[in-house]
Symmetry: C2
Subunit: 360 residues, 2 copies
């Protein structure tokens, strides 16, 4: 599958194909023919599995290996990475090649956006989450103690190359986290995918590379289309925030330690569906149906014990706030999501109370 | 004077007019009619002189007062500023109003570029240097220990409003620094301004607000036109690097303490003219003429004692490097500057040796 994403800096291809890593060098050459230097940015886990293949195939000017994990997605980490790019001689015509999950593509993409006021990036997502979501659409950034992705840039890459064969080495828990974004995308844009997911399981998907590759391609295409129509997230693209408004606040409220991103999104999907029901936007039963699919895919439907007021304080710092109301993407039905400004704080609090463990 | 600058994110006006600060609120309102919050970013010196007027006229949601000086233009300072923007409730539709010299407009402009992946900025330059150069063209960024502006973004403001009446409170040394950028602009684009400068003095300019306002307007227009034709600095805009390739390296090599930016640029202008003569691009005498004007305007023509090899190491990290050659903007004659890739390291070293004090 190959689809072009439109951006203010020109279109770029998203390629999803088992075995694509083998021709990464040629694809990068085509996307950035005059590149003076290529620096690979990756993390320790990806390096352990794919580092050798990446070095052999891409012959980089340098490799920067970051510690893994969302807790490393900080301003300080970007500062260190920028220093390393200078050390490796990455000048204005160099290319940053980010090989990893969403943390690596967000962080390295952001470093590319601000190194020498912007150099080109190429993304080689290695996790399910990055292949279906994080690597597509040009959003880059880091977390701050006040919330997720509060600092960043829109910086479209020159190429996104996904090789679903790499998912064979992805730990089971990361597979599960990525499936939260798959469920989200299906809810927004692909009702038949949602139904197929209702008839599968984590292990069935992991055991069937062809089915997994097909799922990645469908989600990547759906995201590419939304981002092409609304690069800067002023309109339709905001549908992709489904599950994330509450998910991000939960992640921040638990110090990015209680839940993985995907797990937080799953809780967010269920909670926002409950909010949609409470506001009369969705028919009763939608939240239960989403919760059943999440449970089937071994995703949580409720977060750890944390005070509702604490979660609410992070919602208030949300990028999507418009004056007093909070902007949500809320599910109306499977395959139909709408953007809604919610000023009803009581309804939000009730939904939040259901999103966290009862002991809180 | 009012001129529109083209940018990928749409045109924005640059206004130069004595007394313009009095109608800053209306101009900002016109440039960002739906703004939810306005946060003023300034420094202690500007706050002491103009803080009260700014607060009264703009009724901001918050004011962030930074310590003054180039040494504060760091990644850490941006991190702190981003936190303050969140504290002051600056959401996606808020506006960052940067009121100050080049350090403030570069730093606050960069914070605006990466806060919530980009919010609007308005620049109210208060120094001669910022009015004629730094505030125009959308370049934002910070220094790193490895060099000036190595980290940053192109982030066009929505409005640049210059009130030359504010220059009345500008310290004499800062006037002199700003004049280096005036000389640079005249060398590139305005031979008659260069000749007028050869017949004036620092005190004459400071004593004649009308002449000063006219000079600011001519330089601002020249810069606006170059940036409109080449926003991302891939071509013609690079002429504005005149004096800066060597100037930046000197600043970095002296730890940003030996020379002010303007002083470093003056040394750079003379040194690059000498390089142009040595390469046979400029007629003999041009460097002497530029040096005479710099001396007349009380600008240095030689930097402090520092090792040539040390300066060269910073030249090598320059953003404008293209492979092995260094890209310079070199003066051919007054009013005529050309971009030249210089691979002749001996010529560069000889020019550098003349740029630093003899004891080095």
């Amino acid at each position: 599958m190959r689809v072009d994403v439109s951006s203010a800096r020109g279109p770029y291809p998203v390629v999803v194909e088992p075995g694509a890593l083998a021709r990464a060098a040629a694809e990068i050459e085509a996307a950035a023919p005059d590149a003076t230097a290529r620096v690979i940015v990756t993390d320790e886990n990806v390096d352990a599995h794919h580092g050798e293949a990446l070095r052999e195939r891409l012959r980089p000017s340098g490799v920067v290996v970051l510690p893994p994990g969302e807790e490393g997605k900080t301003f300080r980490a970007v500062e260190g990475l920028l220093d390393r790019l200078v050390e490796h001689g990455l000048d204005r015509r160099g290319v940053v090649v980010a090989a990893g999950g969403g943390v690596v593509t967000d962080l390295a993409g952001f470093a590319a956006a601000i190194h020498l006021r912007g150099v080109r990036s190429v993304l080689l997502p290695t996790s399910l989450l990055a292949m279906v979501d994080a690597a597509i659409g040009g959003k880059t950034g880091v977390d701050t103690p006040r919330g997720k992705n509060l600092v960043g840039a829109f910086w479209p890459p020159r190429l996104v190359l996904s090789d679903p064969a790499l998912l064979g080495s992805l730990p089971r828990r990361e597979w599960i986290g990525g499936l939260a974004e798959v469920v989200k995308t299906a809810l927004i844009a692909d009702a038949s995918l949602f139904e197929e997911l209702e008839a599968t399981s984590v292990d069935a998907l992991r055991a069937d590379p062809r089915a997994a590759a097909g799922t990645v391609a469908r989600c990547a295409r759906a995201k590419a289309e939304l981002c092409s129509r609304d690069e800067r997230d002023d309109g339709e693209r905001q549908l992709l925030n489904l599950g994330h408004t509450i998910g991000h606040a939960l992640e921040a409220a638990t110090g990015f330690r209680g839940l993985s991103h995907g797990e937080a999104v799953a809780v967010g999907l269920v909670t926002e569906a409950r909010l949609a029901e409470r506001l009369g936007l969705a028919a009763d039963g939608l939240a239960a149906r989403i919760a059943a699919l999440c449970r089937r895919l071994e995703l949580p439907v409720r977060g750890p014990a944390v005070e509702v007021a604490h979660v609410r304080s992070f919602l208030r710092a949300d990028k999507k706030r418009e004056g007093r109301a909070l902007r949500f993407a809320l599910p109306v039905a499977v395959g139909h999501v709408e953007r809604v400004d919610v000023a009803d704080e009581a309804a939000i609090d009730l939904a939040l109370a259901e999103a966290v463990a009862e002991s809180a």
